[in-house]
């Protein structure tokens, strides 16, 4: 697969857009015409569909270079978006090893890793990185291992310490989040940082999810999809910057919905880390405008039905209750009432 890295922005003039290939491989999250919470976890292994976002451990796509540029801007404005409690340094190294080994294996044209004992040599061609360092020696890297490797990897990451019958959010980098604050949630345990999510607690979703996550073992990662909606292809929809992007929610019109409203899907995976026994949690955001979504007929029909019927509490929690009418009206034009096939994939043309 050849990759042409796009030169685009996720703020200001918002020049982001998806190529037709990127639209086809977009991880549409709904496998049926309705949405409710589920612990919808599956093994993180290739599906066999060539080119899908699930084929590699850490997917690299045409937005890679531009996303990393946006991340660097976010970190420059707000260094608190990347934090690691002192005891999580070892987990940071585990993550660095995992990402470097995976990418060098899956994209040998783009990345290479050579080791001479604990002296490592890492090359990242798209970002023009060529670094030599000593594994486990932070003095030989320009910054901590977590920050170093995630400045070169798409998606947010949290590293969770496993102790006292729970998982603890003790490190992370969060620049593409759907409205939660790493600085505030750092140090919380599983049920605490999920506390604001409506409905799910009563359903026992988090009890089951925690039990499952705590039993994940090294060598067997898992994944799931989560979703929300964002006005404009803004990756940094942080609570910190809410006064800046909040007004955009109130500025949508029927003429601009298609172009400006984006379905934002998180491909989340779960990895047991070897030396620290911590759990790594990558949260990789994919954006697709409504007008691109509806170019896939099955997705247009299904998205309409999901948003039309979703409970109000969820619409409020996901931040689009205000615009629900507008969105549903726009999508209605693309729903002819035909049945949709089960599963998330587009129907073959």
């Amino acid at each position: 697969m050849s990759l042409d890295f796009r030169d685009e922005t996720f703020r200001g003039d918002f020049t982001f857009s998806n190529s037709p290939e990127a639209v086809r491989r977009f991880p549409f999250p709904f496998d049926r015409d309705a949405y409710m919470y589920a612990v919808n976890i599956e093994r993180h292994v290739p599906t066999g569909r060539e080119g899908s976002v699930f084929e590699h451990a850490f997917d690299v796509d045409e937005h890679y270079v531009s996303e990393m540029r946006d991340r660097a801007l976010v970190l420059a404005e707000d260094p608190l978006r990347c934090q690691s409690l002192p005891h999580m340094a070892l987990a940071g190294w585990d993550l660095l090893e995992l990402i470097m080994e995976s990418k060098a294996r899956d994209y040998p044209d783009l990345f290479s890793l050579t080791k001479d004992g604990d002296r490592w040599h890492w090359v990242n061609r798209p970002l023009n990185v060529d670094d030599r360092f000593t594994f486990l020696d932070e003095a030989t890297l320009p910054c901590g291992p977590l920050e170093y490797i995630t400045r070169q990897t798409q998606g947010d990451f949290t590293l969770q310490d496993q102790r006292e019958d729970s998982l603890w959010l003790d490190a992370g980098i969060v620049t593409t989040q759907a409205d939660w604050s790493l600085d505030f949630d750092l140090g919380m345990k599983f049920h605490e940082w999920h506390a604001p999510v409506p409905v799910a607690h009563q359903l026992g979703v988090f009890d089951r999810a925690l039990k499952f996550l705590m039993s994940i073992q090294h060598g067997q990662p898992y994944r799931r999809l989560n979703w929300t909606l964002t006005v404009d292809p803004l990756l940094d929809t942080s609570p910190e910057n809410y006064p800046k992007w909040g007004p955009s929610r109130a500025s949508l019109t029927p003429e601009t919905v298609g172009r400006r409203m984006h379905l934002r899907v998180e491909l989340q995976s779960f990895w047991r880390l070897p030396r620290s026994n911590a759990l790594a949690f990558p949260i990789r955001a994919y954006l697709c405008s409504f007008e691109d979504i509806v170019s896939v007929p099955k997705w247009g029909r299904r998205l309409h039905r999901v948003l039309r019927d979703i409970p109000e509490e969820l619409a409020t929690y996901k931040g689009f209750a205000r615009n629900r009418g507008l969105l549903v009206d726009y999508l209605a034009a693309f729903d002819d009432g035909q049945p949709t096939s089960p599963g998330i994939w587009p129907d073959d043309p």
Binding site: P196, P239, E240, Y242, G246
Partner: protein, 199 residues
């Protein structure tokens, strides 16, 4: 409605097994200290191993006299929490496993003292806490990161950056504060009248 899971829960102080006891309170928390000592099966023994630190509560309520008369082996009255933090840190740094910690009074005192105990290596689940008196909150503005002390209304103005913030029940032990979020972000200028909620 059930309080959200990230909101701290408080109990009632009761003497626990240990070789040393460290108790800290502000304002009406003095009452919890008195009740704590009254429950000790071996009052003299408990007092001989007790170190008390007391500061006035939000609004200045000071029951320090009663606390001094308890007869604890060590009793220190300080003018404010901020003034006494270095002492607290040193006491915790010198403490051994088997030290029991008790905190009572406002959420602000409890949260900040609890944070010091955690920094010193005590798990927060091992620290006893009892909320008494003022419900005024410490609130961190998620936008500028400044903490506003003794917040009683919702919404309120951040004392650092001036944004109007609504007060969430989402709480951080690490910051010892609740979260404040801009209330008029989506429609600037639309700010509801403040209501007293945390008196």
């Amino acid at each position: 409605m059930e309080p959200i899971l990230s909101r701290p829960r408080y109990g009632k102080l009761a003497p626990a097994k240990g070789r040393a006891h460290l108790a800290m309170a502000d304002g009406e928390g003095a009452g919890a200290l008195l009740d704590l000592v009254a429950q000790a099966p071996d009052r003299a023994g408990f007092l001989a191993a007790l170190h008390v630190i007391y500061v006035p509560g939000p609004g200045g309520l000071d029951r320090g006299e009663e606390v001094s008369r308890l007869g604890a082996a060590l009793c220190h009255r300080a003018p404010s929490l901020a003034a006494t933090l270095p002492r607290l840190r040193k006491v915790l740094a010198d403490a051994h496993m088997g030290t029991q910690v008790y905190l009572a009074g406002s959420e602000g005192l409890i949260g900040q003292a609890l944070r010091e105990a955690m920094e010193a290596g005590l798990p927060f689940s091992a620290v006893q806490t009892e909320q008494r008196g003022s419900l005024a909150r410490r609130v961190q503005c998620v936008h500028c990161k400044g903490v506003t002390e003794e917040v009683v209304t919702d919404p309120f103005r951040c004392s650092h950056c001036g944004l109007h913030l609504f007060v969430r029940d989402h709480y951080s032990r690490r910051l010892a504060a609740f979260q404040g979020v801009n209330i008029d972000a989506e429609e600037p200028g639309q700010v509801p009248l403040p209501v007293v909620r945390f008196a």
